[in-house]
Amino acid sequence: MGRKDREETVSDNKERIKSIVPIGPYHPLQEEPELFRLHVEGEKVVDVDVDIGWNHRGIEKLAESRSWDQVTFLVERICGICSNSHPLAYVQAVEDCAGVQVPERALYIRTIVAELERLHSHLLWIGLAGHFLGYNTVFMWGWKYREPVLDIFEEITGNRNHYAMMKPGGVRRDVDPEYFPHIRKQLDEIEKQITMVKGAVLDDPVLHARLKGVGVLTREKAIEYAAVGPVSRASGVPSDIRRNHPYAAYDRVEWQVITCESGDVFDKAVVRILECFETIKIIRQCLDNIPNGEIDARLKEVPPGEGIGVAEAPRGEVFHYVRSDGTNLPIRHKVRAPTYMNLPTCKATVVGQSITDATIILAAIDPCYCCTERISVIDADTHKQVMTGRDLVRLSQEKTLRLRKGLGL
């Protein structure tokens, strides 16, 4: 499809632009190096190249010139959506190194903030998935119901994003119980909405036809790639850091690890939707059972040694390693985000599939959303770019329409 065709489509279909809500940075220019390069033969993907580094800002090196407390603010900004998970894993690494016990109330507060983050992240993903599939009402719905969660964050932490709640030894701010009734009310409302979406998704024949059997990551491949989070749980691997390496208050509340069997995109969606219910359950129990007491162990010094902290971010396991020589600054801080392990699985899930399914398969990994937009499609014989990410999104939405017509709906 040449550039002329794209421009005609854009100017002739202003209405179409209005209804397709573009997401993320678009780089439709031919010369743009892309994140995912799909090599295709006709409609089939035969290989995929992944190119990262677009957000590499040298955070590990910056951490070596910041104090133990300052690094908490630094790592928050690794990723905006997992803004709490990185500080949580980091402070746990420092506490592991220092051998310090965190007060009970702080553990519950950590859990509440972490689960609220999971809720808003999964709602965000559901919205995005809806967009890629052509269900734009789902996009609007998902992001509309994120807003009350962000409001709760603003009430209890002071910011919609980047909450700065974590601190080595505890949490930075207490949560006022006067907010609890409001939080409970919002959770009730959100739960009703997710129940509706769950019914709509699980029973929709178009989604079944569209997503079942698509982009399958087998259990063996999930283990081989050391995939984490919903990506691995959808393939039947029951690995959840909250269960396997309990931290915060997760072993003090009742909840279930959600797994599915077939590892296709449908299962990845189901895992995330069902996790929202578990999340709401966990938050309610924390609000009911949170003890009074201190919120900070007042960690003064980090002794020489090393520590590892892990946490279950919405996308999977976040891993932090710190090394201390007893001074005020870490001498090494290793950060590993979940997407680092999950991105390579695209080699197993996208190769052999049709280009119409490429965006939804890549989106199902749930990487930083803007990364999925940087897709280019390259003809395997001519090595020329034939399509862009935007073309792929449109193809994906058109396929859903075709399926719906085919089913007589």
């Binding site: 854009v10 940075p25 678009y26 780089h27 677009w54 800002r57 905006g80 803004s83 609007m140 994003n161």
Partner: protein, 157 residues
């Protein structure tokens, strides 16, 4: 007032570029399109092609890999083009200024005076972004030269 500027003021088409950001600003930009803030009712739309852009929303700390693209994209955008730096990273790079993998800040990367509005915040709230865009449009109308920061008290606005 020229026709181009008048057209721009009625329904600015915005193109979003993220250059090494944590994505929080990017998500808050999208939030502006969603039901609560719904900037589409003002005619503000996100477009997919730089050649249709009236305004550039730029986020990110200008990491080395992305910054080169930002410069190229700016050059391809039809002028007049509003450049709105969204977020503390785009305004002045935050602590990423010291990093080995960032280059100069956005306003040093683009030609002098290219950045019209700075919207600081980490991330700035959608209300702040909308205020910033409105100020940028107001700037154009008055054809002033100095850039403004969203949140400044101004008697005229």
């Amino acid at each position: 007032m020229g026709i181009a500027i008048k057209a721009l003021m009625k329904s600015p088409w915005v193109f979003h570029i993220s250059a090494g950001s944590c994505n929080n600003c990017d998500i808050e930009i999208l939030d502006c399109l969603c039901p609560r803030f719904d900037v589409e009712r003002f005619g503000i739309q996100l477009v997919g092609s730089i050649r249709h852009a009236d305004a550039l929303l730029i986020t990110g700390a200008m990491n080395r890999k992305s910054a080169i693209r930002v410069k190229e994209l700016y050059e391809q955008a039809p002028k007049p083009c509003l450049v709105i730096a969204i977020g503390s990273c785009a305004c002045g790079q935050n602590f990423f200024r010291d990093s080995y993998h960032t280059v100069q800040s956005l306003d040093e990367l683009l030609p002098p005076g290219a950045v019209t509005v700075y919207i600081p915040g980490c991330p700035p709230k959608p209300e702040a972004m909308i205020q910033g865009v409105v100020k940028a449009l107001g700037q154009l109308a008055k054809k002033k030269d100095e850039p403004v920061t969203a949140g400044e008290e101004k008697k005229e606005s």
